[in-house]
Symmetry: C2
Subunit: 252 residues, 2 copies
């Protein structure tokens, strides 16, 4: 007898950003696994168990949830944003590949959500309106040289770049190094957007330029979007400016 | 007196993929603008007007909605997926930049949604679980040479690539040319995922390889994800395989 594991995207913050499907899966689960702050976002329900863990034990957490589901449980795993973007869906797949055969038979549902870069883009206009990429600045699980290769390749080809995991206490210099790298490729006038706690009551969106971008303005709750040479800014009287990528590119 | 324009992402298909915020904005609008098939996805409400238009008149549609809001109306513009990803948010910003001054004072809300690549990724595992990019194959508004430059840059640097607008009646050869280009850079064993009508009752997800990928299998409702050399496939007894990007990359 096998159960079900739903890997659920909670979206960028408050419940209004969740899909109806995510709410239904949360309501039907008997246990909610996840990183503490994400588990805390789910309302308590009678009879529902919450199992919160630290953010550096993704594979252990995935294994615990899979084992619970394999015993017949109806289990949910929550991620902020979308579970498939630098979040728990990959860890769950990895655990399935490495784990006991019965985990492959678990009824696995991955429930997409609004990932942070989409929420930040919506908060300031449409900076991801043309070709873009998403890149994690964490070098915990990849060499920094690969981050540099990808930054240069993406910026040189004119992609707008969303930087996930830009900074943390254990990774204090990477965002500054990334800006330096990008300044070697892009004009210093390119818009850069810092979005902190997007979709939450303390949301803070700051628009600056690559020349002026200060890595100290980012923390673990920040997503950074680096525009391209084609990114435009519209000033508005009494309202924050809009940043957007035109629908046309390359002089077309 | 100015009104409000909400540019709303409907998500990939059925109402269960919509956020609570999108539903609330739809309910509060007196007029719904959009490309016909997206407008059709919104339930009729008494007193609410629907203004559907063709998919090649984005800027005209944006202008009509802005003019309506600038006259004091509560207006919604709907997009499939997320409005900020190859959709109406950019066209609205472009119309604001080019249009009369009073359009800059419209209360503009962009309501994010689950974009197609996230829905397709969720339907087959976690292929976007590490660094990836989103690239439109349409050469209506950019030169094809730029598409080729971006394909080569992204694939060479190890990004997984989501291909939006892969094919249409007016653009029949571009997807085949893109696969050819990618075969020059990536191993032919790299997984390729075709997702048709993802999130709708007739959803069809096909997993193949870059060597075998047949552009004729795509149509206007298809999104294509091209993996990287690190993308993995997990076979499951009696269930479709899972495709995923490991959390580590570059040998780390």
């Amino acid at each position: 007898m096998t159960g079900r594991l739903a890997v659920i995207g909670l979206g960028p913050g408050e419940p209004r950003h969740r899909t109806a499907e995510a709410e239904a899966e949360l309501a039907g689960a008997e246990a909610i696994y996840g990183y503490g702050p994400y588990v805390d976002r789910v309302a308590d329900r009678p009879g529902q168990m919450k199992i919160a863990s630290d953010n550096r034990v993704e594979l252990d957490r995935a294994g615990a949830a899979l084992a619970h589901a394999a015993r017949g449980g109806r289990v949910a795993m929550v991620s902020g944003g979308d579970p498939g973007v630098f979040a728990m869906a990959s860890a769950v797949c990895e655990a399935i590949e490495r784990g006991p055969a019965e985990w492959r038979s678990v009824d696995l549902a991955i429930v997409p959500g609004v990932t942070a870069m989409l929420a930040l883009a919506a908060a300031c206009g449409a900076p991801l309106g043309h070709d873009f990429c998403a890149l994690s600045l964490s070098d915990n699980l990849k060499p920094w040289s690969l981050v540099e290769t990808r930054l240069t390749a993406a910026a040189s080809a004119g992609f707008v770049i969303a930087l996930y995991n830009p900074i943390s206490r254990a990774r204090p210099w990477q965002l500054g190094a990334a800006f330096e790298r990008l300044r070697g490729v892009l004009p210093s006038s390119v818009p850069v957007i810092f979005g902190r706690a997007v979709g939450r009551p303390d949301e803070q969106v700051t628009i600056t330029t690559l020349g002026d971008a200060d890595p100290q303005k980012a923390d673990m709750s920040t997503l950074v979007i680096v525009g391209s040479a084609e990114t435009r800014i519209i000033e508005r009287p009494g309202l924050p400016p809009l940043v957007y990528a035109p629908r046309s590119a390359g002089g077309a």
